[in-house]
């Protein structure tokens, strides 16, 4: 019995009769003639070592969903994990919009055919600009870390200096990305943070900032959740030395916290994940960069920038601003490089901001501050648990120390897991100076009951 050729739903012209017709039009007898330019010794002749295809959708779905069944999600477990990826609520409209075929499958169309995409991205930039109080915002980069690294490269080009200072209370993985991205060409020096407060060590900064420093970089809130209150002093310091201040900020804190532009930041960057993106195991990221509307800044962006322009019929038109900066136009003579990054997430973040509005962002920020305070206080009351940086205000995340419990953080987490709780990020190895410490995170999705459940479980685990 001859096996019928599979006509695959994704490949309409795998129908043999159609292929024959098309081959005739081309003037060949065999599809293999189409790749006779590949030398025989380079032709791959064997079967690829792949599993049997799952030809029907049902089999595919059953297989993949079955595999994913082995995961336990943060909807099933109660999670207090943060450290750069956050479980915020994603409004249904965000999913609705970014799953629309028209946005999901569009790509590089021109303003005339993809007017909606240009407008949506312009509006995204406009809303971010208001949140940040900056006049220029880019079409996003791959992630916040890329945005941070590029911000520092931009600062280096603008100041024509090749050294940057970054605070040691920054996300350590982000610093690895920055270091690789800046090498070679820009030297990255990491400055220890103040062990007492978890924030900048101003004295040290005063020593370090000089006329070779292109920029000082810090994160607000820091990796530890501590809020940096000395922004203006740092800005003054670096500005006096002719350098720039680069701040990585959590945009969802800006309903209540002052934007970095208010304390002197020249370039502000960050990640959009908290603005309407699901966590996706850390796989949904998009980085923003914001600057003043000055040529010296704008011309150093590697990213695409969408501007608004008049049309012959008085509509709102859009297009690429200063295209000639980009590697699309200038190859190796461009500013860094640009490619397909994360536009859909920017549209989504725009939807998020439009839904939230000023009041929503304020409610969100306030609610997170309230929960952070409550959780830190409640957990710190557990015998053996000590708050780290207790005098420093915290946003969303905070550090607890377990030295007095006689248990290490891994063990505590393991025991919490049995209670269906994802506990904290273990800081012991990466920040040995903090002892056996863990980073906890709360967001607007946590009710008082959730936090109390954690407190109870933690008390039980370490008692």
């Amino acid at each position: 019995m001859e096996k019928r050729k599979v006509v695959h739903p994704y490949i309409p012209n795998s129908v043999p009769e159609v292929q024959k017709e098309m081959m005739e039009a081309i003037g060949i007898n065999d599809i293999e003639e189409l790749y006779k330019c590949i030398p025989d010794e380079l032709k791959f002749k064997g079967p690829l070592n792949l599993p049997k295809p799952l030809l029907s959708e049902w089999e595919l779905k059953r297989h993949v969903d079955g595999m994913m069944q082995e995961n336990a999600s943060c909807l099933e477990y109660l999670s207090f994990l943060g450290g750069g990826c956050y479980q915020h609520y994603v409004p249904a409209i965000c999913d609705e919009v970014n799953r629309r075929s028209e946005f999901l499958t569009a790509y590089a169309g021109e303003p005339y055919e993809d007017h909606g995409r240009f407008q949506a991205l312009f509006e995204y930039a406009s809303m971010m600009a208001e949140l940040l109080e900056m006049d220029v915002v880019n079409v996003p980069t791959y992630d916040g870390s890329q945005a941070a690294a590029t911000s520092l490269r931009m600062a280096s080009r603008i100041t024509k200096r090749d050294k940057v200072l970054v605070l040691g209370n920054s996300n350590p993985d982000r610093l690895r990305i920055i270091k690789n991205y800046c090498h070679p060409g820009v030297e990255v020096e990491v400055l220890p943070f103040d062990l007492e407060t978890g924030t900048a060590n101003l004295d040290l900064l005063k020593q370090k900032v000089d006329e070779n420093v292109a920029a000082v970089y810090f994160e607000n809130p820091s990796f530890f959740g501590t809020v940096e209150a000395k922004g203006q002093e740092i800005a003054d310091l670096v500005h006096d030395a002719g350098g720039l201040l680069v701040v990585f900020v959590e945009p969802n804190s800006l309903g209540v916290l002052a934007p970095p532009s208010r304390y002197g930041a020249d370039i502000v960057c960050g990640d959009l994940q908290s603005l309407g993106l699901h966590m996706y195991y850390g796989g949904a990221r998009a980085g923003f960069i914001a600057t003043p509307d000055e040529e010296r800044f704008v011309m150093e962006y590697p990213s695409r920038l969408f501007g608004i322009a008049p049309t012959s019929h008085k509509e709102w038109g859009f297009g690429d601003v200063a295209w000639e900066r980009t590697s699309f136009a200038k190859r190796e003579n461009a500013k860094e490089f640009v490619g397909t990054a994360a536009a859909l997430w920017a549209i989504t973040a725009g939807v998020y901001l439009a839904l939230m509005g000023p009041q929503g962002m304020e409610d969100l920020g306030k609610g997170i501050l309230q929960r952070t305070r409550y959780a830190r206080k409640l957990l710190s009351e557990i015998p053996g648990v000590k708050p780290v940086f207790p005098q420093t205000p915290a946003y969303r995340e905070f550090v607890l120390n377990f030295d007095d419990t006689g248990m290490d953080v891994e063990e505590i987490n393991q025991r919490l897991l049995e209670e269906k709780i994802f506990g904290c990020i273990d800081l012991s190895k990466r920040f040995p100076s903090l002892g056996f410490s863990g980073l906890f995170c709360v967001t607007e999705i946590h009710s008082a009951g959730d936090i109390e459940r954690l407190a109870k479980a933690l008390a039980k685990v370490i008692s």
Binding site: Y10, I11, V18, I28, Y35, C37, K43, F44, L48, N49, L50, L55, V64, N71, S73, P91, E102, L104, T105, A108, Y112, H115, F122, E123, E130, E133, D135, V136, R176, P184, L254, V256, L257, P259, G282, G283, A284, D293, I308, A309, T311, H313, E315, F318, F337, V338, G339, T340, A341, A342, L344, W345, L353, G357, G360, E362, G367, L369, P393, I445
Partner: protein, 513 residues
């Protein structure tokens, strides 16, 4: 739709969504921000639009309809980008909360399904490429190139040749990021141009290589759709001077399963998951780039890799990469994109993947033959030869004959509801356009696209005005590009617009006044 800018829809007091309030017990008695110092309080609320939920939705639905996605049009006019069908089932699979609601730091034992998927994806990519190890981290093709350039940099540094091997060779028809990202990593760029058959000039390569050559970054077939049969000679030449060879396979669609990077002598390669492997393009990302390397270079890959521990039977995040370049991306890669690629490979298997390439070639050469029949169109280089998965064409003759340019044609094609892109710069091929039919379109759809193209080319000869003044049926009309290039005029946000203009582009103050 004549949809306003979102700020024009704002009405003070309206709400789009409500946020869960802190329970009573968590609220402080005061209305303030607790321990946040006064100086850090936001004084004025951010100027975001205030809109009811339905109006927000309507705004974005209307904007969405003002787009031509691959799902909507015959999207073969965006050559080099492989605008193939992105199966909806894969979107559905990626939307599973068991995928979307996972935290990257949750215990590995609670993410075994996802880790296994990543591990298996790597195995498939190894089979397809012949490479020994893959990183799934990069967020797109350019990012993959950057990662490769970082690896080459680390390799050079590790050999103590930082100051010596400082040149990277690429070709003009390779993606611009090959040059740009290599430059960023401190290399000098040497660009090879094509010979008369459109293939990179092997003599130019021979002249370019030396002990300064760190690597060759090359595409094959290049963007013009011509396969370089002497590719092995190229890699041999570069190897002979001690350099590495990186294969830009962002678009693998024409040779998938038919020939591999390994046999062609490459040390590194990468694929775009949003091209060949069908993940949707999302208006320009999120995409995915995956980097494959030989055993010798695996130690430079970014951390973590995903490995399998025979003992425990568990997959794990493997940070044991001795000379790692560190990290290039937050966490572990663009998970929803990787999952789609996994599902796509699983749905096709060995025979299916090869059929993809075969039909991509078939479709392209069918279109190729037909376009060559259109008056005014040509396909420079390699006359008489067939093409691979795409072709870079030229309207040089048509422009000479009629004055109508490829940009005019582009604007007119929109009137018929199809996408059409010119080409990457620089325009070595005059008045270029690049068509890549992929395997996703039926003969009828290809014929429909060809009919439109034929019609517009004919208009150029018979009624050039209608082409030159296009588009006529777009949502908007001719855009004044001066407002995009002049720093005094540009406005990249509504905030900037409001500072520069009132009403409809009325300048707020006279310049140089």
């Amino acid at each position: 739709w004549d949809e306003p800018i979102i700020y024009e829809l704002s009405r003070k007091g309206e709400r789009g969504i409500l946020v869960p309030e802190a329970d009573q017990v968590m609220q402080s008695p005061d209305e303030g921000l607790g321990d946040i110092p006064e100086g850090l309080h936001r004084k004025e609320p951010p100027n975001l639009p205030e809109m009811g939920q339905m109006r927000v939705l309507k705004h974005y639905l209307r904007l969405s309809q003002e787009n031509l996605g691959a799902d909507l049009n015959i999207d073969i006019g965006q050559g080099t980008c492989t605008m193939k069908y992105s199966p909806k089932i894969n979107d559905q699979l990626a939307a599973n909360p068991k995928v979307s609601e996972l935290h990257p730091c949750q215990p590995e034992e609670t993410a075994q399904g996802l880790l296994k998927m990543m591990y298996e994806t790597e195995q498939y990519l190894k089979a397809i490429s012949g490479m020994d190890r893959f990183s799934l981290h990069p967020g797109g093709g350019s990012h993959a190139i950057f990662t490769i350039a970082s690896i080459v940099r680390a390799w050079v540094d590790s050999r103590g040749e930082s100051d010596k091997r400082d040149e990277i060779i690429t070709t003009i028809f390779s993606h611009p990021s090959n040059a740009a990202a290599s430059k960023l990593k401190g290399f000098k760029i040497i660009t090879i141009y094509p010979g008369p058959d459109g293939r990179p000039d092997i003599e130019a390569l021979k002249a370019a290589v030396s002990e300064r050559t760190a690597a060759l970054f090359i595409t094959n077939p290049e963007d013009i759709g011509i396969y370089n049969s002497r590719i092995k000679e190229f890699t041999d030449i570069v190897h002979s001077v001690g350099g590495l060879c990186s294969y830009d396979q962002a678009n693998l669609n024409g040779i998938l399963g038919l020939t591999r990077a390994r046999e062609a002598g490459f040390d590194l390669c990468f694929y775009n998951l949003h091209k060949t492997f069908s993940s949707p393009h999302g208006c320009g990302g999120p995409g995915g780039g995956v980097v494959g390397v030989t055993e010798e270079l695996a130690k430079f890959l970014p951390v973590p890799l995903v490995s399998f521990d025979e003992g425990s039977g568990r997959y794990f995040l493997d940070y044991d990469v001795p000379c790692t370049i560190g990290k290039v991306k937050d966490f572990y890669g663009v998970i929803p994109v990787i999952l789609r690629a996994y599902a796509w490979i699983r749905s096709l298997g060995d025979e299916g993947l090869k059929e993809v390439a075969r039909v991509a070639l078939l479709n392209n050469n069918y279109v190729f033959k037909e376009i060559l029949k259109i008056k005014g169109a040509s396909a420079p280089y390699a006359e008489g030869e067939l093409r691979m998965e795409q072709v870079r064409y030229s309207w040089e003759k048509l422009t000479k004959d009629t004055g109508v340019t490829t940009t005019d044609i582009q604007n007119r094609m929109f009137d018929f509801g199809v996408h059409y892109w010119t080409s990457h710069e620089p325009w070595i091929v005059p008045e270029p356009f690049t068509i890549e039919p992929t395997e996703s379109y039926s003969k009828d759809e290809l014929d429909e696209f060809l009919a439109i193209l034929r019609h517009v080319a004919n208009e150029a000869y018979t009624n050039p005005e209608i082409v030159k003044t296009a588009p006529h049926r777009s949502v908007i009309h001719h855009i004044d590009h001066d407002y995009l290039d002049d720093p005094k005029k540009w406005a990249i946000t509504w905030r900037a617009y409001k500072k520069k203009y009132t009403g409809y582009f009325e300048p707020k103050e006279r310049k140089d006044g």
